[in-house]
């Protein structure tokens, strides 16, 4: 039974404690600083927050004393020579029909640390961080130092080893609109999944490229996007160019993976070798950002649906969570306790979490809702939080 919630918000980190059956938020930490992700390492209880400083560069912050004090770490940095093939901001004068010229290279700078993941208990000190512009960083000393995973950075789907020279293949990774805030149009890694059975087995998800897997501890990587469809691409079944909004896996059945995507909800029960679209548009289950899966039953998942790509808000003013217990064959709307009139919330990709029967989500409208019965009923933890970027049980 969880007794801690971490909210990453536009104005700092909010820790919510459960004591005597009551959830009570503490005064905000990292006051005034955008926190795009915050989570607790289950191995040692360390709290982590990714600070999205607009001016001073992204920083990781950690707390050894359950949030009483925080220490900001030295910046995560790309090594000298880390380059990428630039994508261009989709400005009104951009001509997609223009002939493709020679690739233009940029020196990599960390714009945002979008996701933090914790290694296996067999690898104490192992942490992962996913960035915009699409780097996976690894630490083996509890976050004191970080190294770029070069095989993924140098992947042929990104143009090959740009440390060594010019591109040897086409760059198939596109930018994410989430990068436009930084004045660039570059990809980002927002989902990192470590297989509890095998610490060398990871999936990462990239906006905008797709899902990529390693089975050898990051030495080699391969795309895992078969069965994905991308309605807005010239070739909807293209290997690359997918925009998973968030990808997660069942802890107890790690071959069961789920993703909420631009173009639907997708499910795999064979370790992402094949994806199956399990949207139910007539029930509102199609577009959205977050997704959560039960820790034991890989067929059981929840999403917070939103109205279409172009609008991105609750459907018809009524906020609901949709649950499936049969691998997406059917979905049920859970609305009890959630506002059904004049609700225009959107829940971002890290804004929903599950822990046993506990579910919680937070919206960019600053509303946070909690369920203690698997989503059957909900209550509000507060309506006046800053815009919520991430929700994680501790």
């Amino acid at each position: 039974m969880p007794d801690l919630l971490l909210l990453g918000t536009r104005k700092g980190t909010v820790i919510v404690d459960r004591a005597g059956g009551v959830w009570r938020p503490r005064p905000i930490a990292h006051e005034g600083i955008p926190v795009c992700y915050a989570a607790r390492d289950p191995r040692d209880g360390m709290l982590w927050a990714s600070l999205d400083h607009g001016h001073w560069g992204p920083k990781l912050s950690r707390s050894r004393d359950s949030g009483a004090t925080w220490q900001d770490l030295a910046s995560v940095k790309y090594p000298a020579g880390a380059r990428y093939i630039k994508k261009y901001l989709p400005t009104p004068d951009f001509d997609p029909e223009a002939p493709v010229g020679a690739p233009e290279y940029g020196d990599a700078t960390v714009y945002k640390i979008w996701h933090i993941a914790f290694g296996s208990p067999r690898q104490p000190g192992r942490l992962y961080a996913g960035t915009i512009p699409g780097g996976l960083f690894v630490s083996d000393d509890g976050g004191d130092s970080w190294n770029l995973n070069r095989p993924l950075w140098n992947h042929e789907s990104r143009g090959g080893d740009l440390f060594a020279g010019d591109a040897t293949s086409e760059n198939r990774w596109h930018g994410t609109p989430a990068s436009i805030d930084y004045g660039v149009f570059e990809p980002g890694i927002h989902s990192i999944i470590v297989d509890p059975r095998d610490p060398d087995h990871l999936h990462v998800a990239v906006s905008t490229a797709g899902v990529i897997e390693t089975t050898d501890g990051g030495k080699t990587w391969a795309g895992r996007n078969q069965g994905m469809t991308n309605d807005y691409m010239p070739d909807p079944e293209s290997e690359w160019g997918h925009d998973p909004h968030f990808v997660t896996a069942c802890t107890g059945q790690p071959d069961h993976l789920w993703q909420q995507n631009h173009c639907g909800v997708f499910y795999s029960d064979d370790g992402a070798r094949h994806w199956k679209k399990v949207s139910q548009p007539e029930a509102g289950v199609h577009f959205g950002f977050p997704i959560a899966v039960d820790a034991q039953d890989g067929r059981k998942a929840w999403v917070v649906p939103a109205r279409a790509d172009s609008e991105r808000m609750a459907i018809d003013g009524g906020l609901f969570v949709a649950q499936t217990i049969d691998g997406g064959q059917s979905w049920r709307a859970l609305r009890n306790g959630l506002p059904q009139d004049n609700a225009y919330d959107i829940v971002l990709r890290h804004g929903l979490d599950v822990s046993g029967d506990y579910l919680c989500f937070g919206s960019t409208t600053g509303n946070v809702y909690l369920s203690e019965d698997g989503g059957e009923s909900w209550r509000c933890l507060g309506n006046n939080f800053p815009p919520v970027y991430s929700v994680r049980f501790g």
Partner: protein
């Protein structure tokens, strides 16, 4: 020795720099920032990116002249000059 003035926002992360006159032995902006980093380890992480360039939303001037070389910070700083470090804040 040049003087360094900075936005109060940075004192939050480097309280050792607050309530004191910062004078450093330096001829260029790069040397000025290196010297401040000696006084407050980690300081350059906040104002420079991994290539040593001034971060995009940080501004720096030498007296009333805005820094020209944002990449390598080679602008000269007169011995009686003041380097100002500030940032553009906007939105909510």
């Amino acid at each position: 020795m040049p003087t360094v003035e900075m936005t109060g926002h940075l004192y939050r992360f480097f309280p050792a720099l607050e309530d004191r006159v910062i004078r450093v032995d330096a001829d260029s902006v790069a040397e000025v920032l290196r010297a401040v980093n000696q006084l407050a380890p980690g300081f350059t992480d906040y104002v420079l990116d991994e290539h040593g360039a001034l971060r995009k939303h940080v501004s720096l001037s030498i007296n009333d002249r805005i820094l020209v070389d944002r990449k390598t910070l080679s602008d000269r700083v007169p011995d009686d000059g003041t380097v100002y470090i500030f940032q553009a804040l906007s939105g909510g």
